[in-house]
Symmetry: D2
Subunit: 325 residues, 4 copies
C-alpha cells in the first residue's frame, strides 16, 4: 500500500485561508433575496434525501432568503411533472415536497424570481466537481448576470452569482486544493466503517471524457494522507481514473474486502445499477470476480450533512466575494 | 411650407431591396416554434387593440408557431396580475384575453418556452424605433441566444433571434431608411384625414434623451416627400425633435388646423394625458393657445393593420437572416 | 428664416453638468502613461495642421504622458510609409513631423505601447460624431481593454479607455446634447465671418448611411439657437441631412450668399473636391447654380484650437470616469 | 511496480479519430498568411534549439506562410533587446537568429502582422498543457479574433485561430486523451535510454497551483501502458503531482537508478537549477539522498523533432477546424 504523507503540510496550508470577518459576511448573507439550488435532479424518491439535506443546510445559512430548486435534467423534470397528475403515485409517496411536481430548469427559475421582484440571487450548484454540467450552468448564470441594460435598475437582478462545486474550481481564490481538503474532512465516517470492516474504501464518481478530472485523483491522494489507516480508491464512470485503475490498484494491494459508495451527490441510477447492480459490468460484479467481498452503501454524498454544508458555505462565499468587490 | 422632393429617388431606391425566394423564407418560417411579441405593455383595455392587431398579423405569418406576449413594464404586469383576482373588473371587461392576467416579462417568458421544449424562437419588439427600451430588450435576447454550452443540445434554444423596431435599426442590412419608407407608406389614411380637414398632421412620438432620435426627423422628411399634399410634423415627449420644434414650425407655416395622433404603438398614458389632456402643458392645450384648432385621434400605431404587419414582416426577416447564415 | 429659441434653456441645462473636483481629476490625469490620438488620417501635408493642433492641446492636458498617433486608414498609412523612402518629397515638405513616416494603425500602436511597458492608456478619437468609424475603433479598444488574464498583472494594460467624439455619444453620462452645445460654442468665429458677409453658414459633414446622424441636425438646431444672427445649415456627404436638404432650405431662405466650410476634423479630399471642387456635383458648383455666391474656407475643424481642445477634454473625461469607478 | 494495461484499447480508440481529407486540409493550410509561434521564451542560447526545431517543423507544414515568433515573458524579451546592443555578446553567440534581438510579445506581433496586411493568421502555443499561460494567451487571441467591425473587411484579420498545447485542451474535439497518446508516442527514445540504464524514467514538468493538472498524471498512465518495459513517473515544480509523489513512488518501487529529463518545451532555468542543480532542494539532490543514482539530460521537449511536429500538426488542425466551419 502507498505510504501516506504531508498531513502536516495540509494543515499548515489551511491556515492561510483568507479570514473573513463573520460580521461582514453575515451582513452580506442577509441581503440575499433568493438562493437557487441547482441539481441535475433525481427521480428516485429515496434519493431525494440528499437534495433535502442540502436544502436544510442552506436554510440555516440563509434563513431570510427564498430557497428554490432547479433541476437541469429535462427528463427528470418531465417525470415529476407527470407525477403531478398521478394521484396514486402521490398517495404512495406522501413525504415528497410539493415543489418537486412543478420543478423547473434554471432559466425558468430565474425568470420566476425576476417576476417575484427578487433582486439579489445566489445560485448554488450541487455538482461534485467543475465538469461539463457545472460549466453549462455557469454559462447560464454568467449570461443572466451579464445582461447590461442602459440603466442598472432594469437589469434582471442587481446581482446573480454562482457558488462553486464541492471540490472547487480552477482559479486563484479559493485554491481548489483547500476545497478538496475540506471535502475529505467530511468523509471520516466512511473511513471508520471501512476500517472496521478491514476493507479498502472505493468511491465511484461520475467523471467525464472531456474535462481533466484531476479533482478525483487529488481527492484520493488527500484521503490517503488524511486517513492513513484505510486505503481509499476513487474511480469514475466516465474518464480518468476509471474502473481499470481501481482494479489495477486492488490487485496490487491484495485486499479481500471493499467498502463501496457512490461519490455522487445523489444515489441514483449510476449508484443503483452501474455500481451496485447485478449486471456483468457493474462495479460490484467486476470486483467480486476478483474474489473480493464488496459491501455497497447506497447513500448520496448530499445525505451527509457535513457534505451538504459545503454547498451552503460555497453559496456564502459566492455572495461574500461578489458583494465584497 | 417646405417643398417636397425626391419621391422618385425613394421609389427607385426601394427596388434594390434584397429579393428573398418566397419558398425559402416560407420554409424557414415554418420551422419557428414560438414567437414572443415583446411590448412595454398597457393597462388600458381600450388600448389593447394595438397589441391584439399585431398578434393577429403575426399569426398570419406564423400560423404553426406558438404566439406569446411579454410585457417589459413591471408596473403594468402588476396591474394585470392584480386584476386576475378582481372578479368585478373582469366582469366589466369581458373582451380581455386570458393571457393578460398572467403576462410575464421577457426572461420568464423565455424560461417558460424552454420548459415547453420550444427550440426555435423569434422575439419581436413592438417598439417604434431603436432606443433605450429596444436596446435593453436586445441585451436580454443576446444574452440568452449567446449561452454556449459544451454540447449544442443543452443550449436553451437552438436559436433565438430578435426582430427590429418599426423604423429599423442601425446597421448594414437592411438599411433603416427602407424601414422608414415602408412605415411611411402605412400612414396614407392619416394623411387623407388631415388633407380633408385642411390640417397639418402632427405626430407625438416618445423619443428619449440619451439616444440619437433621427429616426423621427427622417420619418418626418419621408412623410413630406411621400405625401406632399399635407405637411407632417413629428415631435417627441423626450428628446429631439421636441414640442418646441413642432410649435416653431407651426408658427412658421401659419396653419389654423392640426390633426394630432400619437406616434406610439399603443394609445396609453402619453396619448391620453400628455398629448390630448386638458393640463396646461398638454400638447393640445399648448397648440390651441396658438389659436390653432386641434383634432386628436387616440389610436395607437398598432391599431393600423398595415403598421402591425411591419412587425410580422420584421419577425420573418429576423428568422430568414438568422437561419440563412 | 426659422425662428431661434431656447438659448436660455440650454445655458441652464449646462449648469447641471457633473462637477468634478479639479484636484482629483488632475491626480488621475497625471497617472496616464500614454495617450493615443486615433484619426482616420490624411495624406495632405497642409491638412496635418488639424491633427497637430489636437496634439498640442492634448500635450497641455497630459504633459507627462507619451502622446502617440494612430491612423486607421490603411491607404493613408501606406502613402506616408512610401514617403519615408522619398528623399525629394521629404525635402519639399520639411515641416512634417517624423512620426508620420512610421505611423501605425491602432492595433500596432497598442502593441508598441505594451512593449514599452506603458500600463495606463487613453485612446482619443478625433471623429466628429459616433458613427461607423468610431464604433469600429471602440471595438478594437474594448477588445484590448477586455483581455482578462488570470492574474491582473498580465493584462496588456492596467486600463485602456476611449474618449468620445466631439459631438458625444449615446448614453447616460455625459448627455450628448451637452457635447453638441460645447461644440457649437467653439464656432463663434465662423458665425462672425458669415455675418460680416451677410451669408448663410453651410457646413459639409461626412455622415453615413447606416447609423442615425441626428448629431448633425441637432448641431444645426443648436447653432441656430446659440447664434440667431446667422442661419446655419448642416449637410452630409453620406446620409441625412443631405445636400438636397441644404438646397431645399437655401431656396426657402432666399439668401444670395453662402459661407461654406468642411465639418470634418481635417480638410482633406472631401473638402477639396466634394465641397469646393469644380466638378458638376461639387457642393460649391451646385449651390452656385442656384445663383448664390459661395465662399469656401478649407480649414478642418481640428485647426480651431477650441475644437481641438474638446478632444483633450474628452480624453480627460474618459480617464476620470474610468479610474473613478 | 504498477501493472501496465489497455494498450489495445488505446490503439483501437485512436482509430476513431476524425479522418480529414488530406487535399482539403492542404488547401486550407495554403491559405494561411502567417503563423505566430508563441512561447514563454528563453534567454539560454543553448536552449533555443527547442524553439528553432519547432520553427523548422512549422515551416514544413506552412511553406508559404510567414513564420513569426512571440515571447510572452517581458523579462526574457528585455534580455534579448539588451543583447541587441551588446556587440561582444553577439560575437560570442554567432548562431543566434536575428529575430531574437527584436522579439515582441503577442499583441505587438499581431499588430505588426496587421500592418503587413496579413489576413489569415494561426497562433500556435508551445505550451505543454492547457494551464494558466495557455489560457492567458487564449484570452489575447480570442479578443483580437472577436473584434467585430461593422464591415468584415475592417476586422484586423479575416481570421485568427489558436492551436492547442501538446497535451491538448478540454473540449469535445479533439479529445485530449488522443493528444496525450500522440505525445507519449514521441517519447520512445527516452524509454529506450532508461531501459538501457535499468532506470526509472522521471520527468519534471512545470505544473501550476491553480488549474487541475491531470494531463500530467494521465500522461504518466499512458506512458506506463504504452511502454510497460520501463516505469515512468511525472512530477511538477508547482502543483500535483509533486516531487513528494515522485519520491513516494520511487521508495515504493525500490529502484537504484533514475533517468531524469525536463518535461518542458525548453531546458531553461527550471531544468538547469530546480531539476539538475546542486542546491539541497534540487530534484537531483533530493533523489540522490535516497541512494538512487540520477542521470540528467538537459534537453527540452521541443528539441525532439517528433514533439516539435505535434505543434505544427495542432496549428494545421486549428486552421482546418476554423476554416471548415
Amino acid at each position: 500500500m502507498m505510504k501516506k504523507a504531508t498531513l502536516l503540510f495540509l494543515i499548515v496550508s489551511l491556515s492561510i485561508l483568507p479570514a473573513m470577518s463573520p460580521a461582514t459576511a453575515a451582513t452580506k448573507k442577509e441581503a440575499v433575496d433568493a438562493v437557487v439550488i441547482a441539481s441535475f435532479g433525481t427521480s428516485y424518491p429515496e434519493a431525494l434525501k440528499a437534495i433535502l439535506t442540502i436544502d436544510k443546510e442552506m436554510r440555516k445559512e440563509f434563513p431570510k432568503a427564498e430557497i428554490k430548486h432547479a433541476f437541469t435534467s429535462n427528463i427528470i423534470r418531465g417525470i415529476w411533472h407527470d407525477r403531478a397528475d398521478d394521484a396514486a403515485w402521490k398517495k404512495a409517496n406522501p413525504g415528497v415536497p410539493g415543489w418537486l411536481y412543478d420543478v423547473k430548469g434554471p432559466l425558468a427559475t430565474f425568470g420566476a424570481l425576476q417576476e417575484e421582484g427578487k433582486k439579489r440571487v445566489v445560485v448554488q450548484t450541487t455538482h461534485v466537481y467543475a465538469g461539463e454540467e457545472y460549466l453549462d450552468l455557469k454559462a447560464y448564470v454568467d449570461a443572466i448576470a451579464g445582461i447590461d441594460t442602459l440603466r442598472a435598475k432594469w437589469k434582471p437582478f442587481s446581482y446573480m452569482t454562482l457558488g462553486r462545486p464541492a471540490l472547487g474550481k480552477a482559479g486563484l481564490h479559493p485554491e481548489y486544493r483547500n476545497d478538496i481538503e475540506a471535502a475529505a474532512k467530511t468523509m471520516a465516517a466512511d473511513v471508520k466503517k471501512a476500517k472496521k470492516m478491514g476493507a479498502v474504501l472505493v468511491y465511484m464518481g461520475h467523471g467525464n471524457e472531456v474535462f481533466p478530472t484531476s479533482a478525483y485523483i487529488e481527492f484520493q491522494k488527500t484521503m490517503n494522507s488524511m486517513y492513513p489507516e484505510v486505503t481509499t480508491l476513487v474511480g469514475t464512470v466516465e474518464g480518468y481514473p476509471g474502473l481499470d485503475d481501481v482494479t489495477t490498484a486492488l490487485k496490487h494491494i491484495k485486499t479481500k474486502k471493499v467498502f463501496m459508495k457512490p461519490f455522487m451527490v445523489v444515489a441514483g441510477d449510476h449508484a443503483r445499477n452501474d455500481m451496485a447492480g447485478d449486471e456483468d459490468d457493474a462495479w460490484k460484479t467486476v470486483i467480486e470476480k476478483m474474489r473480493i467481498k464488496v459491501t455497497c452503501e447506497l447513500k448520496g454524498l448530499g445525505e451527509n450533512p457535513e457534505w451538504a454544508k459545503l454547498y451552503a458555505e460555497h453559496a456564502v462565499d459566492a455572495v461574500t466575494v461578489h458583494t465584497g468587490k
